[in-house]
């Protein structure tokens, strides 16, 4: 087992290297002049009267791919991801500002997905083919087919346009003043956490009010997938002999379901966690656009619309790293949880 872990950890840098080369190779589709933006650290640091050709030469943009890749990687490892014209700040700083916002959204979303998924999935499986089950089945089919942006817009129409309960954006004007102007300190960049440390329950509530709709909007599809997964896994487990044994012992049905069957049924669900993280990052792009929530997703969209390559490159790199590391953690976690897993 230890050998397996070490092997996986040793392969990790290799995977990241290939991934970064793949992402960087996208830039090679562009002309050296367009590529310049990826290398110039700060627009202000370049005086306007240097000719482009000289800059291309200075940054070595006419040299072969591997030389440029090496130079770029060196910069990246020093934390320089280039200058983002669409965010009007260095990419690294933009990521530092927007990423926590998305993490916040993802955390809230995963609570909805996992808690809701396990709860509804259990309900449906226990009452198989009865009313709750039929309800869940039809509901999840709609949930899977509902585009996030359509659902998000409907939520906005009802809860913002009509009822005026939940506004879009990330914070209200007054709360933004508190966060950015007063002696409020940002520890994590996540408003829910920072506001509690700063003892500003009013900011906490305001941040939560802005998070509710986006979190619901992008949980709906994943929640449906999760419910179906839990339901079918539990249905299968409930027919196993050891569950019958537990019933025969005279245990209460609730104990049999929750303690005996569901525990085992939930094991394979953990493997879903990786794809859930990936889907949430993708969903964030849509949902943050719909709700005008300034996080990584909105950052990527703005960059894509403005053909802002440094931002796209930096964000892709970050997301690639997150996914690779998440998958590694899940594999290792799975090994700990499920002793029957056979290692390669």
């Amino acid at each position: 087992m230890v050998r397996y872990v070490i092997k996986r950890l040793l392969v990790l840098p290799l995977i990241l290297l290939v991934l970064s080369a793949l992402i960087f190779s996208l830039v090679m589709f562009l002309s050296p002049y367009e590529r310049l933006a990826v290398f110039v650290p700060n627009a202000d640091s370049v005086s306007a009267n240097i000719p482009f050709d000289e800059l291309v030469e200075r940054y070595g943009l006419d040299r072969p791919f591997y030389v440029q890749y090496y130079e770029w990687l060196k910069q990246v490892l020093h934390g320089n991801l280039g200058w983002s014209p669409s965010a009007r700040m260095p990419v690294a700083r933009a990521i530092g500002r927007y990423f926590p916002a998305t993490v916040e959204l993802m955390l809230l979303g995963s609570v909805i997905v996992f808690a809701g998924g396990v709860f509804l999935g259990t309900k449906a499986a226990v009452r198989h083919n009865r009313l709750p089950d039929q309800f869940v089945r039809v509901g999840t089919i709609f949930g899977v087919s509902m585009p996030e942006f359509v659902f998000g817009l409907l939520l906005l129409v009802v809860f913002y346009g009509w009822l005026k309960w939940f506004p879009p954006g990330r914070l209200s004007m007054w709360a933004e003043d508190v966060v950015y102007l007063s002696n409020y300190r940002q520890y994590t960049g996540m408003n829910l956490v920072d506001s509690l440390i700063n003892r500003r329950p009013d900011v906490f509530l305001d941040a939560l009010r802005h998070l509710v709709l986006p979190a619901i909007a992008y949980s709906i599809g994943l929640l449906s997938t999760m419910v179906r997964m839990v339901r079918s896994a539990l249905l299968e487990t409930l027919q196993m002999d050891y569950v019958t044994t537990a019933r025969a012992k005279g245990l209460a049905e609730r104990i049999v379901t929750i303690r005996h069957a569901r525990r085992n049924a939930l094991r394979p669900v953990i493997t879903l966690a990786g794809s859930i993280v990936a889907k949430m990052l993708g969903g964030a792009v849509i949902v943050e656009t719909v709700f005008n929530y300034r996080g990584m997703g909105k950052f990527i969209v703005t960059a894509a619309q403005g053909l802002d390559f440094p931002a796209i490159l930096g964000a892709s790199l970050l997301i690639g790293v997150i996914i690779v590391v998440t998958n590694l953690i899940i594999d290792l976690l799975y090994m700990v949880i499920d002793p029957t897993v056979v290692l390669e």
């Binding site: 087919s145 346009g161 249905l235 990052l281 993708g282 969903g283 849509i286 969209v301 390559f309 690779v324």
Partner: protein, 293 residues
């Protein structure tokens, strides 16, 4: 034939079939249902009824109203169905083909070829699909053809996975051994014996995938990196309506037609394929047969 019969007899499957058939008819008859005016150059560019920046409610001129900029909603929805079918069928057809060949041949060959194919698949898997496609469209440029290309580049990976696991199990079965023993060529064994027995999960996946792909394509248009402005595409029509979701003071639902109709179109289209794929999976998966009543 038996599959089709059971599909129709299942209420959910029947509903899915009806929805898909409905949109297929709309797409086929688009020039009849919503004929472009004479002199309208490209029928896929939504017709405009005036150029008013305010949406106009349904009238005799535009049956379902117009969006801001005068785009006819009815025309957009009818011709948008062709876009949806086009994107869905082309992308799923191409990705399934690539995935089946890569995953299937990799598993059939085994050894280092299989490892290489799977590592490449893993690499493509290590990226959220939507974000990967957005990045590709940035590099490739705007337009529905670029969107299709981007979707194909990243879409094949799941087919490769599914096909590989199927081929791995099928190639150990007796009839494959029998074919080998009577001297069939490797080419013939793969295409005549293994492929037909391993392809069903791909059909199910493909059916479900058409809905998913259309959703992704619509999302791209929605965030503004998909179809060109004015192209008949449901995602884009919903993005047109974004400015109007708040309605007017005292009348929050005044512009309901700008988002309700395109939303219904896209939802029913995807729902149809999801239902179809779902029921198809139940029918084709023999393991589930006994648990059905």
């Amino acid at each position: 034939m038996d599959t089709l019969r059971r599909l129709v007899l299942n209420p959910l499957g029947c509903a899915g079939l009806v929805l898909v058939a409905f949109w297929a008819v709309v797409a086929l008859l688009a020039p009849v249902i919503a004929p472009p005016h004479a002199g309208h150059r490209d029928p896929y560019i939504i017709e405009r009824v005036g150029f008013s920046s305010l949406p106009k409610p349904p009238s005799t001129e535009a049956v379902l109203g117009t969006t801001g900029g005068g785009y006819d909603i009815f025309y957009g929805i009818v011709w948008g169905s062709r876009t949806a079918f086009g994107v869905g069928l082309i992308v799923v057809g191409a990705t399934a083909l690539i995935g089946v060949l890569l995953g299937g041949l990799g598993a059939f060959a085994g050894g280092w070829i299989d490892s290489v194919v799977m590592r490449i698949t893993d690499l493509f898997m290590s990226f959220p699909f939507l974000i990967a496609v957005i990045v590709m469209t940035v590099v490739l440029g705007k337009g529905i053809d670029k969107v299709i290309l981007a979707l194909v580049i990243f879409g094949w990976r799941q087919y490769a996975r599914v096909m590989r696991s199927e081929v791995l199990s099928v190639k150990e079965r007796e009839f494959v051994r029998a074919a080998e023993s009577i001297g069939c060529g490797r080419f013939r064994i793969f295409f005549r014996h293994i492929l037909p027995n391993a392809i069903f999960p791909v059909f199910v996946l493909a059916t479900l995938d058409i809905g998913a792909i259309v959703l992704i394509a619509a999302s791209l248009s929605f965030i503004g990196v998909g179809a060109e402005p004015g192209y008949a595409d449901w995602g884009q029509m919903i993005s047109f309506s974004r400015d109007w979701i708040l309605g007017a003071v005292g009348d929050p639902f005044r512009y309901w037609y700008t988002y309700v109709y395109p939303s219904i179109a896209i939802l029913t289209f995807v729902l149809g394929w999801t239902l179809l794929g779902d029921v198809l999976r139940d029918i084709l998966d023999p393991r589930l047969k006994r648990s059905k009543k």
